[in-house]
């Protein structure tokens, strides 16, 4: 596969190295002369000097035959437009853009730049995973498919411990897919009884997190418990 990486910063350089090791043909484009000279010492002909915002630079790098373009510069506008031009002008099938400022993510979506990867979001996810007070962990967002998979840890005070899965008042558009109990996973049936300490995985349409959190979270003054 021929892959063009834009931006030879820490992300771009390491990504290029990994992709080369996997046997792909890769060119990384860097617009800073000094950075280019540094990276060139290791990557040699796999790095190209120029501003990838400019069409002729992309063409010189062979974008017409590229299978994938990955824009990982430190500038969100650059990443967005490089991907937009790659897909819409040069018909590159696969594009990946880095989001530096998570507040810009709606702009990536607006321009149809998918998938976009934000380090801040990834760290947030990790935080949610490591800090249990959030109660609910996003495991996977399937944006195209409009689905999410989340994980919840049932506390002793959870409103659903001791109840049958079949009796749960699951919100429409959500489904329990598995339970991790004492290190073992299994697919629950309607007769499975939930226990404190269970890690529950659910798949759901976006927007149902709060309902699930209320259902599986600590029992609150009878709300949801008596259902």
């Amino acid at each position: 596969m021929y892959i063009i990486v834009v931006g030879a910063g820490k992300v771009g350089w390491n990504l290029t190295r990994e992709l080369l090791e996997k046997g792909h043909e890769v060119t990384v484009i860097e617009s800073d002369r000094r950075r280019y000279l540094t990276v060139e010492q290791e990557l040699e002909h796999n790095v190209s000097y120029g501003d990838a915002s400019e069409l002729w630079v992309l063409e010189r790098t062979g974008i017409q035959r590229a299978d994938m373009v990955i824009a990982v510069t430190g500038d969100d506008e650059d990443n967005m437009l490089i991907c937009q031009v790659a897909r819409e002008k040069y018909q590159v099938d696969r594009i990946i853009a880095r989001v530096n400022n998570p507040r810009n993510r709606p702009h990536f979506d607006l321009l149809g730049i998918k998938p976009s990867v934000s380090a801040t979001d990834l760290i947030l996810r990790l935080l949610e995973h490591e800090v249990p007070e959030y109660g609910l962990v996003h495991l996977l967002d399937l944006q195209e498919e409009q689905l999410e998979i989340i994980e919840m840890l049932l506390g002793k005070d959870s409103g659903v411990t001791g109840r049958r899965v079949g009796d749960l008042d699951m919100p429409e558009g959500s489904l329990l897919i598995s339970i991790l109990r004492s290190g073992k996973g299994f697919v629950p049936g309607p007769d499975t009884v939930l226990e404190a300490g269970d890690e529950v995985l659910a798949v759901l349409d976006p927007g149902h997190e709060e309902q699930l959190k209320a259902l599986f979270g600590p029992e609150q003054n009878g709300a949801g418990a008596g259902a």
Binding site: L55, D76, E77, V85, E88, N104, L110
Partner: protein, 138 residues
């Protein structure tokens, strides 16, 4: 455009730019009905504070091509502004985005045309510095 009686709102990251707006004006920018917002063009909060939601026309003319192209598309797609214009210095991209339906103005192309015609005008008015070979059939 403010002088012509239009309502003009200007968004700039640099608060100092406000002073530049008032150069040559007999009254203050706001006194003449102008609006000035400090903020970044990529921040939707700033765009909305500047009144993009009720704008009839939107001009993206920061000093960065990429910023202008992105903001222009935000104005078009997210806020449905009827007339959107983007300043793009890079002639190749100005041309391509124009082909994609964006109204673009390329100062580089305009300057090249002006310089070219200035050179031609000068050349036709003045005698060449050196008598060149007479052209065949001239």
């Amino acid at each position: 455009m403010l002088r012509e009686g239009h309502e003009v709102s200007c968004l700039d990251e640099d608060p100092e730019s406000h002073a530049r707006l008032e150069v040559g004006l007999e009254k203050g920018w706001e006194d003449l009905g102008g609006q000035f917002t400090v903020g970044a063009g990529l921040e939707t909060d700033a765009l909305e504070a500047a009144g993009i939601e009720r704008a009839d026309a939107f001009i993206a003319s920061t000093d960065g091509d990429n910023t202008n192209i992105v903001i222009a598309q935000i104005a078009q797609r997210r806020y449905d502004v009827p007339t959107v214009i983007a300043r793009i210095l890079d002639p190749l991209r100005a041309e391509w985005y124009a082909g994609q339906g964006m109204h673009t103005v390329c100062p580089t192309s305009v300057a090249i045309n002006m310089l070219e015609s200035a050179v031609r005008e000068g050349a036709s008015r003045e005698a060449p510095r050196q008598a060149s070979e007479p052209a065949e059939g001239a």
